[in-house]
Amino acid sequence: MSALLEVNSVSRRFGGVEALKDITFSVHGGEIFSIIGPNGAGKTTLFNLLTGVFYADEGSILFNSHDITRKRTFEIARLGIQRTFQNLQIFLNMNCIENVKTACHTRISSGMISGCLRLKKVIQEERIVEKWAMEALDFVGMKDLALAPSDTLPYGLLKRLEIARALAAKPSLILLDEPAAGLNDTETLEMRHLIESISRSGITVMLVEHNMSLVMEISHRIMVLNYGQCLKLGTPTEVQKDPEVIAAYLGEAAG
């Protein structure tokens, strides 16, 4: 397998706090790669570096052999990385399908003037975007809610909507930040199936999640972060057996 994402000795400080210290790993195309660790270990910071929300102080990040270390967020998105947010970032001023249509931004090209005049190109684009958006909603099982205002939806559905939105951008890598947080058992199971079907559709998945049974069951490889450092990187079985990981995060019961 070839490396889709290569992170080379990346560090990031916030004031005196070293949020990430010399992190090196690579993610292969097609795998489900999870990042676990206690709160404040640097998991979300890592996602923020990968999407250009923050920049790394040191080190480099290569995606699909493009150097994205200093690229801006929207440029990285155009190269094919999408993410969801721990604290949902749904466009609450739009309904479901509009949220998803917005994600097709990089797949179409009409500008503001042609939009204002509704040129033929825009009409064609709108037709295809409608189709793409419905496909993405269908994928997460929300086809019937296409026209529902997003500010009326329950939390679990908003999480799915955010994933549908990310998928509509046709990413090759998707970063999911705690997709199961706040979900009940049934919803968590549905989320698990959804992540698996995303992976089956050929999209590489990076997952930050605290639900250990979910992580252990679906991940191909897991990286354990603690105080900004990589404690362990390996298969779920290897991680579960590691004494350091047990001490820092999993606790005796899980080991």
Binding site: T73, F74, Q89, F91, N93, M112, G115, V122, E125
Partner: protein
């Protein structure tokens, strides 16, 4: 379906124009309402769609107005050429300012645009050799379409009706297009918009320029209709009035802006009968609207109707 509101708007306004061509409230106040509608819809692109704030849009109105006034009176240029020159000047200025200004958010953006409005106003008052100072400029020629000289109130009514309809059409079109969604996404969550691949800085700059240019065109039309312009017409108070129209009608809704503009135009006309109570009532009505209908008159009304409709549906399903 998408343009149904525009058709209703056209039917009502053309109908009123044809039925009551000599009525003061239709031809004169109506024309003013159209100006406000153009301005509010243009400002709504920037405020309601993209979620930014501008307390300086009167500056762009002034630039359009004065460019037209100066070029037509001193250089005898065709009004439409002068109007284009004003639009281009506004476009250039707003393009230049967009990037640095739009880095700011919220109150800071309000301050920066406020500063812009005040600078332009001071310029118009001080540079007497060019702008006529506080007295303004007069004797501005009317516009001519083919061989028709537009100088009666009802002619202006129909021309401004057409321009308003075009502005509304542009606004509705933009809403359901790639860049329109990008703007509304910025309003919803700027970070999520970036993550989806939207160059938010560029999108905001573009809509700022678009909004400014439309405002400038309205300014140009205004001087030809009034045959007169003074700095009072492009003061800070006017900027605030425009913001009030957009917010009062309902932020983010094209017809919200239309309603807001119409209300703020007609309300003072009717309140005149209350003489010294006018200003008091005006303020009280605005306050009540914002307290009881915080989403704006139009948006709240639409929400209310939808809510009623849905409840009825649910009841029907329940009883059957």
């Amino acid at each position: 379906m998408r343009l149904v509101g525009l058709y209703i708007f056209l039917a009502v306004t053309i109908g009123l124009g044809l039925l009551f061509p000599d009525n003061y409230y239709v031809s004169v106040v109506g024309s003013t309402a159209f100006f406000h509608i153009i301005l509010a819809v243009a400002l709504n692109l920037f405020m309601g769609y993209a979620g930014q704030i501008s307390l300086g849009h009167a500056a762009f109105f002034g630039i359009g107005a004065y460019t037209s006034a100066i070029l037509t009176t001193r250089f005898n240029l065709n009004p439409f050429v002068a109007m284009s020159a004003g639009a281009m000047l506004t476009g250039a200025l707003s393009t230049l300012l967009a990037r640095p200004i739009l880095k700011l958010k919220g109150h800071y953006l309000a301050m920066a645009t406020l500063g812009l409005g005040i600078i332009v106003h001071i310029f118009l008052v001080q540079e007497e050799w060019l702008t006529g100072g506080p007295d303004g400029l007069s004797g501005i020629p009317p516009i001519k379409i083919a061989s028709l000289v537009v100088d009666t109130d009802i002619q202006w009514y129909f021309i401004l009706c057409a321009v308003s309809a075009m502005t509304i059409w542009i606004s509705l079109n933009l809403m359901d297009s790639r860049m329109g969604r990008a703007l509304r996404a910025i309003h919803g969550s700027e970070i999520a918009a970036e993550v989806l691949g939207i160059d938010t800085a560029s999108a905001k700059a573009q809509v700022f320029v678009l909004s400014a240019v439309l405002t400038s065109i309205a300014g140009s039309l205004f001087v030809h209709q009034q045959a007169f312009i003074s700095p009072d017409s492009c003061s800070f108070a006017f900027s605030v009035e425009l913001v009030t129209m957009v917010v009062l009608g309902g932020l983010g809704s094209t017809f919200g802006a239309v309603f807001g503009a119409a209300i703020l135009t007609f309300l003072p006309e009717f309140l005149v009968h209350f003489e010294e109570l006018e200003v008091l009532l005006y303020g009280a009505i605005l306050m009540c609207i914002m307290i009881f209908l915080p989403k704006g008159v139009f948006v709240s009304a639409v929400d209310g109707v939808m809510h009623l409709f849905q409840r009825r549906c649910v009841r029907d399903v329940g009883s059957s």
